[in-house]
């Protein structure tokens, strides 16, 4: 099983299943206990300068926006970041908190392209390693499986592979080339869910994106949730638990925590807010004004919500599709 090709991209977080196991064994608590805390406490306790962090799903859809705003507020520096990047990564980049990006897609879909990542990457301030969307998610999956890599049939033959840190080997069973994707064990995962109990057992409605994988790939895991439910309720439908408590370090209550993004079955995205930011992002000064108002200007998520206003939020609730 010879290595045919090795991507030349930097591996910002090399796969280390044994290191992850050791961390779990010495630092992780498998006791079922109350982990509810304020976002300030969760972020200050579990995110450190230099950490490799990941966010799920992406900026306009069920993203842990209230947690990301808190990370920016606390000015956690020299972060290395993975994930689909839209509004959440823009905020980190605008606040100059990121050293390196494992990147797959940093645009705003229907709305266009944000200027934040372009500025950061084009002037060489932020290092990048590129992956396909499948590729980066399979990196989480490999970590979630507790193995150093998984084989996939993406990225082969392309510069996406060449500039990644994947490898191509000859499969010893079929003798055909396959791409090996290195596992991505993260220091911190941030995930926003519909329901969690106080111990961290979580439910997600609708698509689960890559929550299953990222939760399992994170040494430290902070959950924000629209709603806290009882453990009795969790125990009634155990098959609905996507993230079991033992993966979770902190549970933060954050109704409207995905705003300005959407939360399926709960509230629709705030298109006006998003498009305004996108416009502002073209101008570094206006980007800072946005941060001053919406992030630094709010002491916590509650103040942010007050600033958005209940009228707007009720409107967004009325705009989301039902079941």
């Amino acid at each position: 099983m010879d290595v045919i090709e090795s991507g030349i991209g930097e591996l910002f977080q090399p796969p280390d299943p044994d290191g992850f196991r050791e961390w779990v064994h010495t630092k992780k608590n498998t006791q079922m206990k109350d982990k509810v805390m304020a976002e300030h406490e969760a972020v200050s306790q579990f995110v450190q300068d230099g950490d490799y962090i990941g966010t799920e799903l992406y900026g306009t859809v069920r993203a842990p926006m209230s947690l990301i705003r808190e990370v920016v507020r606390q000015g956690k520096k020299h972060l290395r970041v993975a994930g689909q990047g839209i509004h959440e990564i823009d905020l980190l980049l605008a606040a100059d908190l990121v050293d390196a990006l494992d990147i797959t897609y940093v645009a705003w879909e229907v709305y266009g392209i944000s200027a934040c990542p372009r500025r950061a990457v084009e002037c060489g301030l932020v290092k990048t390693t590129d992956w396909s969307n499948g590729g980066i998610t399979w990196r989480f999956k490999a970590a979630a499986m507790g193995v150093p890599f998984i084989p996939v049939r993406s990225m082969l033959g392309t510069d996406t592979l060449k500039y990644s840190a994947a490898k191509v080997v000859k499969d010893p069973f079929t003798d055909k080339p396959v791409c090996l994707i290195p596992a991505l064990f993260m220091d911190v995962g941030l995930i926003h869910v519909h329901k969690a109990d106080k111990c961290g057992n979580c439910r997600i409605e609708g698509i689960s994106g890559f929550a299953h994988e990222m939760a399992r790939a994170s040494k430290k895991l902070i959950i924000s949730t629209e709603e806290i439910v009882s453990t009795e309720e969790i125990r009634k439908y155990p098959e609905q638990t996507v993230i079991p408590y033992y993966l979770v370090d902190a549970v933060v209550k954050a109704k409207y925590g995905s705003h300005p993004g959407e939360m399926c079955y709960r509230y629709w995205r705030d298109g006006e807010h998003l498009q305004q930011f996108l416009k502002d992002s073209k101008d570094p000064a206006k980007t800072m004004t946005y941060l001053d108002k919406w992030v630094y200007g709010c002491k916590d998520h509650q103040q942010y919500i007050n600033l958005v206003g209940m009228e707007r939020l009720k409107k967004l609730e009325s705009e989301i599709g039902g079941r």
Partner: protein
């Protein structure tokens, strides 16, 4: 040209490429509109698959992104990205839709950078799911809104997504699943396929009022021409009405 803009023309043309009773891996933008239009017209049994987990949504309202709640509204399944990518990897998805900033004659696409890799002259969005779609779907349909020599280039700056790579057999040699690859290229000027022996892009139909020469002129590499070059059909009134009134009434896409 009919009384519609180029985007509308593109969408209607792309929509017609989708057969009924199949699956399509649908990305942000024109693919969503094409799939929604096909589903309302000739392909009611089309199952659209979105990379973050939505399978078989009603598409009553136009999704604004590949993870939004409309991608799984009244869907038959809502799972996650790995499941969808692996569904494609196992061969269950017929059509994939792709776009790009640059394309070469083998259908290789660039959506990553213009210029060197890092730091780049222009940083583009990146692969997203494109590389996976282009690797695993049986037939990828490439949509290029601007057919010109800046975009149709002899060599793309970065191969984000594999077309036929360096020619016949190259995909298989690289380890990509056999018998997959670009199927059609739809642009604001014409419709192209890939010549089976050489795997090079070939002109097969032009839009009304567009000449073969115009297409060749706007292509930055040698573009073979099929023996018979057809004229692409103009969108019907019905298509335009549904597109404008039902699918994108807010004109997120079709006004562009």
């Amino acid at each position: 040209m009919p009384d519609c803009n180029q985007t509308e023309f593109l969408i209607c043309l792309a929509s017609k490429l989708i057969e009924d009773r199949t699956t399509a891996f649908v990305g942000t933008g024109i693919p969503m509109l094409a799939a929604a239009l096909a589903k309302r017209l000739h392909a009611p049994n089309l199952v659209s698959i979105f990379e973050f987990g939505g399978t078989g949504a009603s598409l009553e309202k136009l999704p604004l992104g590949v993870g939004d709640s409309r991608t799984f509204h009244k869907a038959v399944a809502a799972s996650g990205i790995c499941d969808m990518m692996e569904t494609a990897q196992r061969g269950f998805i017929e059509y994939g839709f792709l776009g790009g900033a640059q394309i070469d004659s083998y259908g290789n696409l660039n959506t990553t950078v213009i210029g060197q890799y890092w730091p780049p002259k222009v940083r583009l969005p990146g692969s997203g799911g494109a590389n996976d779609v282009g690797s695993h779907c049986w037939k990828t349909i490439i949509i290029m809104r601007q057919h010109d020599t800046r975009r149709f280039v002899p060599k793309v700056d970065f191969i984000t997504t594999p077309g036929y790579l360096t020619g016949p057999g190259a995909r298989e040699k690289a380890g990509l699943p056999p018998n997959t690859g670009p199927y059609r290229v739809v642009t604001n000027l014409a419709l192209m396929d890939f010549e089976p022996e050489t795997r090079r892009m070939r002109l097969i139909a032009t839009h009304p009022g567009v000449t073969k020469e115009q297409v060749i002129e706007n292509t930055g590499f040698e573009l073979p021409v099929a023996d018979e070059v057809k004229t692409n059909p103009t969108p019907t009134d019905e298509e335009l009405k549904i597109l404008r009134e039902k699918i994108d009434p807010e004109r997120y896409y079709i006004s562009k």
